[in-house]
């Protein structure tokens, strides 16, 4: 039986981000939020493993009280319950804070395995998983593409720069998973309806008995700009010849 914790983050949908053309500042106030795409694979993997080996999955998130909206979506994806760690102070948390808050909240839970996405859809710092493992003093493997459980050992295929490394580690352990590990199921109406009845444990900052200071300071956030010629050509032959001519003159075709 496996007790699995799947971590997820409620992130801004960056397709909704608008840019103020004069100041290059981001306009975020009308953007929607969603479960970070990468974390859907973490939730799916946890649920699939408990289906295969028996056990249950707890979905955990840290964020502002408004992230409550994420719980139904997360639970509709298969976990039996959720832990919602939230506080109005949990605004713009950096990875070190998120990992410390998760560690403090999870440390008195029973778990065999913690699964995180490879990174978050907003910051994509890819730190929370390994940092969390370090705080909990459990072994960790990141960028995992396949998980097998053999007794109290976890076998993982992880990506490294020169290929694949197959590792084993004793449970409890933490893995961060790559999107290639599975294809997340799409929740149906029944899943969504049953999600509303699943238990949610709420934890607030005062329950954690400590504060979590930031380490980093943001000097500025500016929209990235890519200034390019933006010249368009048609698909007719003379247009394509003109296109080739332009590339030759730019010195990129010889």
């Amino acid at each position: 039986m496996l007790n699995i914790i799947a971590c997820f983050k409620w992130v801004i949908d960056h397709e909704d981000i608008k840019i103020n053309p004069e100041t290059h500042e981001l306009v975020l106030d009308r953007a929607g939020y969603r479960i970070s795409d990468y974390d859907r694979f973490a939730i799916e993997e946890a649920v699939a493993l408990t289906e295969q080996y028996g056990g249950s999955t707890t979905a955990v998130t840290v964020g502002l009280p408004a992230a409550k909206k994420s719980l139904k979506d997360a639970l509709a994806r298969g976990p039996e319950k959720a832990i919602f760690i939230n506080d109005p102070a949990f605004h713009n948390l950096e990875p070190s804070q998120t990992a410390a808050i998760l560690a403090q909240s999870i440390s008195n839970q029973e778990y065999d395995l913690i699964i995180c996405g490879e990174g978050s859809g907003d910051l994509y710092a890819q730190q929370v998983g390994p940092r969390l493992a370090e705080h909990l003093n459990i072994p960790c493997a990141s960028f995992v593409r396949k998980i097998t459980i053999e007794g109290r050992e976890l076998i993982a295929e992880r990506r490294v720069d020169e290929g694949i490394e197959v590792i084993s580690m004793p449970l409890p352990a933490l893995v961060t998973v790559l999107p290639e590990i599975n294809s997340p199921r799409v929740p149906g109406l029944k899943d969504t309806l049953s999600a509303a009845k699943k238990p949610v444990v709420e934890i607030t900052a005062s329950d954690l008995g400590q504060t979590f200071a930031s380490c980093l300071e943001t000097v500025e956030i500016k929209a990235t700009t890519m200034e390019r010629n933006c010249e368009k050509f048609g698909a007719e032959k003379d247009e394509l010849k003109r296109f080739i001519d332009v590339l030759c003159r730019a010195g990129v075709v010889d």
Partner: protein, 319 residues
């Protein structure tokens, strides 16, 4: 000895970090220290290439993962209190840096693409966020100030000075970890390293079937370039190897010429081609976002445009 420390899992990436590390150390008037994994000879090379000091980590046994070094790095940093630690952002390097940062209770700027020393003598670090839509500038309030640096962000040091001397210090021992390496499967050399290509033809979802990759391949070959792809082509369709996809979570490339075929231009992809010199795209949807970040765009059906371009370019070449 405080100062700037650099850690990379391989020699080439370490030379890149020595380049930027040396400049940061000189600007702040401190020493530069490099870690060498298990080899004194390499340590001596790092000194010739600009390090003032080298920490030799003990060699790893066959079943020990690179992460075994984490406690030794944390311990060394606790004792010597460096100002800055830079780590090559390889897949393993990113995990190691995050664990070291957690061990030292400090901040880490992931995949930092620009570094400068500000007027307070602090490290100012830039990274992309929101899938590439924005650039964040950060400083670190805690010590050491840490960053991971993607490979190929800085050019490696090339000037070797074999009269340089420095301190070589063995650190460790390393204790065994519960993580054991059971097998290593090096990637089959299916493709070259697209981060070094001069010309890249990149395919996206607009390419309808796997057999059509030949069209793109022909164009790449005519141009003396290589084939690359977007994430779904590699990760969902498995038409092309993992290491050929460009984007936020894949390769960042800087070719002289990039030609995107049937690519819509999602920010997660285009952030990987930011440093290309000339960006061209072919897409039948004239409103495709890729045209907004292209130098030259062809609005048309790639199945008609690409064969014509290949043929015409081949004809020019013969001349």
């Amino acid at each position: 000895m405080a100062g700037v420390w650099v850690f990379a899992e391989n020699y080439d990436y370490c030379l890149e970090l020595l380049q930027i590390g040396r400049s940061l150390a000189d600007k702040t008037g401190v020493q530069l220290t490099a870690f060498a994994c298990g080899d004194k000879g390499i340590g001596q090379q790092y000194i010739y290439y600009g390090a003032d000091q080298v920490f030799i980590l003990p060699p790893l046994a066959e079943d020990q993962p690179l992460g075994t070094y984490v406690p030794a790095i944390v311990e060394a940093a606790r004792q010597e209190d460096p100002d800055i630690i830079l780590c090559a952002a390889t897949l393993r390097g990113k995990e190691i840096a995050a664990r070291v940062a957690a061990g030292l209770n400090t901040g880490l700027c992931s995949e930092c693409i620009a570094l400068a020393i500000n007027s307070d003598n602090k490290l100012e670090m830039k990274r992309v966020i929101y899938g590439g839509a924005a650039m964040q500038t950060l400083t670190c309030k805690t010590r050491p100030q840490m960053a991971t640096i993607p490979p190929h962000t800085f050019t490696p040091v090339t000037e070797l000075d074999d009269t340089r001397s420095g301190i070589i210090k063995e650190i460790g021992p390393i204790s065994s970890t519960p993580v054991k390496v059971l097998a290593k499967k090096p990637r089959a050399k299916e493709s070259g390293d697209i981060t070094r290509s001069r010309v890249l033809v990149c395919v996206g979802r607009g390419v309808e079937k796997e057999g059509d990759l030949k069209l793109a391949g022909d164009l790449a070959e005519t141009l003396g370039g290589d084939l690359a792809c977007t994430r779904p082509i590699a990760e969902e369709l498995h038409w092309m190897p993992q290491e050929t996809y460009i984007g936020l979570s894949g390769q960042k490339v800087k070719p002289e010429l990039y030609i995107g075929l049937g690519i819509s231009g999602q920010i997660q992809h285009t952030t990987g081609i930011r440093d290309a010199r000339v960006i061209c795209s072919i897409n039948k949807d004239e409103d495709a976002p890729i045209f907004k970040i292209s130098d030259y765009g062809i609005v048309g059906d790639l199945y008609e445009v690409v064969p014509f371009l290949s043929q015409e370019l081949a004809r020019l070449k013969k001349k």
